[in-house]
């Protein structure tokens, strides 16, 4: 197989930041090339250069051995480069087939040839084993299937080189396995795949070639046989990283959060959480494992007070809060939301406003109705220091921080109020290795100081490594609560699939 793509000495600076500092990358046809690096390492800049979204200051792009200039995404698509973005660019109310052919429709006298579109999409889908129903509306598809629609879109436009940007971030373990099968199928067809990720296990499983980036530079080029996850992690972060969470035994005390026969409906009024009873004690982490979409988000929203309870009780430190306002509950409860952009932060506001989102109206951050910005700024500076947030000042807008640093702002805010209970939903989603390690250590430290943690995560490894007890949720019911010793991957995995 020949060389599909070669990037030579790509340089791109934004202001004072060298996002790409002489990057070389060579991708072969019929291979999966993993591009590994933390948030801010320059992976996305490099891919945006390749996709024509960003013009490099210096360097050369060679496609099939000949130098090219890529003018923009249209040009990139014409040259057979396809990109699957982390955030899908699909229209929910259109069908799969309509989404796939959008912009490249076949028409008969100006009328969309829906039958032809459906047939083409069906054929393409079958050829790569994507198994997407072409007539279904995209909004009715699971996240995993939506991703396959994105892949189909790229293939339909004639992609030979496919860029997958953090493709597993939103997938369940089963969906990840399916994605890997699809990627292997693409490989077998001679396509080249660039797989952007920061998850080490995935790199070892799927990659033929690995390029590790740090601070805009390529720090290593290797193959899975010659490296290990620990080796890759230390190259990525620039220092040795503990991949396993170190924690001692828990010393649980009294119950701080009790859910008793809790039932909650989803948006459409269908039961999403059914008769859930759980107890979280001070000084322990209770993990809720489950494939996402089994009632976890509804459960979290009910506990926080954003979703009405149909039946059952919620007790916080022995007090019934089933019908209390969110404001009241937040006095003893902290919440790391699963979707920080939507629910956890206001990106347009500066960091200092974001760290007091829940406490802005209390002393010392306000006196009466007047906000006291000096204490707010001082507090923000403390959180920035304590939680190792990479920011120039508390006045920097939240939106200009990297994902990992945004999450550290949220975690810092939620832990600094000295809560009794922490509701941590996907606390490390979309966060780089260094930040994951940091956030995990913080959770353990707070557990040891007596915090009761309800951890809800679709990353099974995260639940297993952090939790003292593991509850498995399936179709809105808790199907088992296991002690950490009995909770092994296989057993929990089976319970998550409803097979036990």
């Amino acid at each position: 197989m020949g060389s599909a793509l070669e990037l030579r000495g790509i340089v791109k600076t934004f202001g004072a930041v060298r996002a790409n500092d002489g990057v070389d990358l060579a991708v072969e046809w019929g291979q999966v090339h993993a591009l590994l690096g933390e948030n801010g390492a320059g992976k996305s800049t490099l891919m945006n250069v390749l996709y024509g979204l960003v013009r490099p200051d210096a360097g050369q792009i060679l496609l099939d051995g000949s130098p090219v200039r890529i003018a923009g995404p249209d040009d990139a698509i014409r040259r057979g480069i396809g990109m699957v973005h982390q955030h899908f660019m699909l229209i929910p109310v259109l069908t799969v087939a309509e989404n796939v052919v959008l912009g490249h429709e076949e028409s008969r006298q100006g009328v969309l040839d829906a039958a032809a579109a459906r047939r083409d999409v069906d054929q393409l889908s079958a050829r790569y084993g994507l198994e997407v129903p072409p007539g279904t509306l995209v909004r009715d598809l699971s996240v995993g299937l939506q991703q396959r629609v994105e892949i189909l879109k790229a293939l339909y436009r004639g992609a030979r080189l496919l860029i997958l940007d953090e493709p597993t971030a939103v997938l369940t373990p089963q969906e990840i396995e399916r994605l890997f099968e699809i990627v292997r199928g693409l490989k077998a067809e001679g396509k080249a795949v660039i797989f952007i990720t920061h998850k080490l296990g995935e790199v070892m499983a799927i990659a033929d070639q690995i390029t590790v980036m740090r601070r805009g530079k390529v720090v290593a080029t290797t193959v899975p046989g010659e490296t290990s996850p620990a080796d890759l992690a230390s190259k990525m972060v620039g220092r040795p990283v503990l991949l396993r969470v170190e924690k001692g035994p828990a010393h649980p005390a009294g119950v701080v959060l009790r859910l008793d026969g809790l039932s909650v409906n989803d948006e459409r009024g269908q039961p999403a959480v059914r008769d859930v009873s759980l107890e979280v004690r001070a000084g322990e982490i209770l993990g809720v494992a489950g494939v996402s979409g089994n009632g976890q988000s509804e459960l979290v929203e009910a506990v926080i007070g954003l979703r009405p309870v149909v039946a059952g009780r919620i007790e916080l430190q022995g007090k019934d809060v089933t019908h209390s306002s969110t404001h009241r509950r937040l006095e003893h409860l902290s919440h790391i939301p699963a979707d920080r952009h939507r629910m956890g932060a206001i990106l347009e506001m500066p960091i200092f406003d974001n760290v007091v989102m829940e406490t802005f109206d209390r002393r010392p951050f306000a006196r009466g109705l007047i906000r006291m910005l000096d204490p707010v700024r001082r507090f923000a500076a403390r959180v920035i220091k304590e939680f190792d947030i990479r920011a120039e000042s508390p006045d920097e807008p939240m939106g200009s921080l990297s994902g990992g640093n945004q999450q550290k702002v949220v975690v810092g805010r939620e832990l600094s109020t000295e809560p009794a209970v922490l509701l941590a939903a996907e606390p490390t989603r979309g966060v780089d290795v260094g930040s994951i390690e940091f956030i995990h250590r913080q959770l353990i430290r707070r557990r040891d100081a007596g915090l009761g943690v309800l951890l809800v995560s679709s990353e099974l490894d995260e639940v297993l490594s952090l939790s003292d007890r593991v509850a498995v949720i399936y179709r809105g019911r808790i199907v088992a609560v296991l002690d950490s010793e009995e909770a092994d991957r296989d057993r929990v995995g089976l319970l998550m699939a409803g097979a036990a």
């Binding site: 202001g15 996002a19 948030n39 969110t326 404001h327 506001m349 109705l369 990479r390």
Partner: protein, 363 residues
């Protein structure tokens, strides 16, 4: 020191697009003048003279700017909370009704008590009128654009009913109008031989007050949070519903103050048809100011100058005063489409990084 420089640069950068939009507005209007066989330079010179240079022009421009300041602040406050208060005109109307009623019906009070009562009545009634669409939105999810437009028509009808033949009509007047307010309810004149009244001082005080409310108070934080990300605000324990009701109350109160201020300071009575579409101009004022309370001041002054200068322009050059509507409309279009202005003047965005990507990678 660096922070000051950065702040100044930020302000200048913020002014760029509105300023260029205004220039574009005049350019398009100039073309319209040229096409109607008049001289645009002559027309705009007359407009400028009418607004600023002629005898009493500046005070009259300021008089015209006063309601725009209040109304611009009203709409801007709504914008900050993500609310589109189209109802400023209706709130202005009911505020004027309340002001004029207190002005003529209460007798024998000294001015220092009478004026605050009459102005306060405008604030309260305008605020209450703003609270209605606020409650409808918070409780039932009714969109404020629809409800406030409807409430505008109800306000027009109400004043028509009250003044044309209803309880507020002056029985001694031949034309339908309210009685004149008592002299002690009239706002004092600031400048001899002009109509420039105390309302200007109140408007100038309202600007820092509203800025302080939005930027430095707990209420302001709630309203900005709700405007920027209602889901996150709710998750942080902020009551989105109450905030909407409160903001609509504040916005309506400011519009109501504009109305009562106008009758107490200028007209001293109220005919059935009173407003000249102030509420809609107010949206333009707030848009050009990009909802910044400080920027409302120059923005309101611009619209006041256009309003006042237009009459002289029409007199001097026979160019219709309606031309200023063309200027206004064009300015709004350009302000609403900053990309268009950037393209016209080849202004580069601050960084070449696509916004979504910058947020993602943080470079």
């Amino acid at each position: 020191m660096n922070r000051v420089v950065a702040a100044v640069l930020g302000v200048l950068r913020g002014l760029l697009v509105p300023t260029l939009s205004i220039i574009c507005g005049f350019a398009v209007a100039g073309v319209a003048v040229y096409l109607s066989n008049a001289d645009p330079i002559e027309a705009f010179t007359a407009l400028f003279q009418g607004a600023f240079i002629l005898h009493n022009a500046l005070p009259e421009t300021l008089v015209a700017a006063v309601p725009y300041i209040f109304l611009g602040l009203a709409v801007a406050t709504g914008f900050k909370a993500g609310l589109f208060n189209i109802g400023a005109d209706g709130q202005f109307y009911v505020g004027a009704l309340a002001g004029v009623y207190c002005g003529y019906s209460i007798q024998g009070l000294p001015a220092v008590i009478h004026i605050p009562i009459a102005l306060g009545a405008g604030v309260l009634v305008g605020g209450a009128y703003g609270v209605i669409p606020g409650v409808l939105k918070a409780r039932f999810g009714a969109h404020e654009v629809i409800t406030t437009i409807m409430l505008n028509h109800i306000a027009y009808g109400l004043s028509e009913f009250l003044i044309n033949g209803g309880p507020m009509r002056d029985p001694h007047a031949s034309a339908p109008r309210t009685p004149f307010i008592t002299p002690d309810a009239q706002l004092p004149i600031l400048l001899p031989d002009s109509r420039l009244h105390l309302g200007l001082v109140l408007a100038l005080l309202a600007v820092p007050l509203i800025w302080f409310l939005i930027e430095r108070t707990v209420i302001g934080f709630r309203l900005r949070a709700v405007g920027l990300n209602p889901v996150a605000a709710r998750a942080a324990g902020i009551s989105v519903g109450w905030t909407i009701v409160l903001v609509m109350g504040i916005s309506g109160g400011l519009a109501g103050l504009a109305g009562s201020d106008e009758v107490l300071g200028l007209a001293h009575f109220m005919p059935p048809s009173f407003s000249i579409g102030y509420g809609l101009d107010a949206i333009a004022v707030a848009l050009v100011a990009k909802s910044n309370p400080w920027a409302v001041l120059p923005s309101a002054l611009l619209f006041g100058a256009l309003r006042h200068g237009a009459a002289f322009m029409q007199f001097q050059t026979q160019v219709s005063a309606d031309l200023i509507s063309v200027v206004e409309a064009t300015v709004i279009i350009f302000v609403a489409a900053p990309a268009l202005v950037r393209w016209l003047f080849r202004i580069r965005e601050r960084s070449a990084v696509p916004a979504s990507f910058a947020a993602q990678e943080g470079v």
